[in-house]
């Protein structure tokens, strides 16, 4: 189970793309929100599209857009540019964790496949892909397919938001911001149910760390801290004969 051979195929891509569809609805609205905001921040359409393609992170782009509102589109010189870049690294620190855990999925694929796949990795498709791996999926096309499923709507949403503006309903009223939370809750329940032994220590430590960090540094840091703590606990409580249930 640990080192099954990884393949890359269309079948996996299609499975991932299909599984990623419901999540893509939420991403579309998130893209709309950024597109709207970018217009208000004085960012031009092509610039907003380039940001969405190159950064592909809602929180980081919204932070960058508001920073650029203050400094002007040139970032106000090299110090301002460095500050925007640093903010993106901090807001996206969870991707360091995500990409590290992608190693079993991607290390046996070619770099020409692995790096573009990492470039379109998002929260939802990462969760989907890790769960799929635990369920025995070994076609890495799944990761790319579920990533592309959200990347397209993200660009489309950015375009629509930046061009059409406020024609659309408030995404929050539609509950779109809740999709990742609801999905994570469902996946957590599913993961615990499938585990051979319920990883109580992992759950409890992650919960405590999440609560503490959320008080002092909410947002992405809660995810990073909880993920690191849970991973550490999983490593420490690991027993050689029960690898498969340790999810």
């Amino acid at each position: 189970m640990v080192s099954d051979s990884i393949t890359v195929g269309w079948a996996g891509f299609k499975r991932g793309f299909w599984r990623g569809q419901p999540m893509s609805i939420g991403i579309l609205f998130y893209g709309l929100a950024f597109g709207l905001l970018s217009r208000e921040a004085g960012i031009w359409l092509a610039e907003a599209m380039a940001m969405s393609a190159a950064i592909y992170s809602g929180t980081a782009q919204i932070a960058a857009a508001s920073a650029l509102t203050g400094t002007g589109i040139d970032g106000g010189g090299s110090a301002g540019i460095a500050a925007v870049a640093a903010a993106i690294v901090l807001l996206n620190a969870r991707y360091l964790l995500y990409s590290a855990s992608m190693w079993p999925w991607l290390s046996k694929t070619s770099p020409a496949f692995a790096y573009p796949t990492l470039a379109v990795l998002g929260d939802g498709n990462w969760v989907l892909s890790m769960a799929a791996y635990n369920d025995g999926e070994r076609d890495a096309g799944f990761v790319l397919g579920s990533g592309v499923a959200s990347f397209g709507p993200w660009l489309l949403g950015t375009f629509a938001g930046a061009t059409m503006g406020g024609l659309l309903a408030d995404p929050k009223a539609l509950g779109v911001d809740f999709l990742l939370v609801a999905f994570s809750a469902a996946m957590a329940i599913g993961t615990v149910r499938k585990a051979k032994r319920v990883p109580y220590a992992n759950l409890i430590v992650a919960a405590i760390v999440a609560l503490v960090v959320d008080r002092f540094a909410p947002g992405g840091w809660t995810i990073v801290a909880a993920g690191l703590a849970g991973g550490l606990v999983a490593a420490l409580t690991h027993k050689p004969d029960t690898t498969q249930g340790a999810a």
Binding site: S99, G231, V233, A235
Partner: protein, 100 residues
């Protein structure tokens, strides 16, 4: 259309994002995949999910709490995470509409 002075900003932002997306993966090149490391990688998603859900639950807003309960209930019957998540979104949207 692009303003030329935006290009350095864009390049810096793209590099910062790429660093996070690729950095962890490249780091794993230097870490031997022992069963313990494997267990850590496998245990991380569940902890991340806790980190995503718990702060929202702890805010104590009624629509979100009812929706999370609906997700748990849906998982008992539907057995499909995406179906359960969409039910949760539906419930939260109705909850926000009823409770302003």
């Amino acid at each position: 259309m692009f303003r030329p002075e935006f290009l350095p900003v864009l390049a810096a932002m793209a590099a910062a994002s790429l660093f996070c997306r690729v950095g962890g993966y490249m780091l794993m090149r230097f870490i031997p995949i022992t069963p313990r490391v494997e267990a850590a990688l496998k245990g991380t998603p569940l902890a991340v999910m806790v980190g995503i859900v718990l702060p929202v639950a702890m805010k104590g807003n009624i629509p979100e709490l009812i929706a999370l309960a609906a997700v748990a209930l849906a998982m008992r019957f539907a057995r499909d995470e995406m179906v359960a998540a969409l039910i949760g979104v539906f419930v939260v949207a109705i909850g926000r509409w009823l409770i302003v």
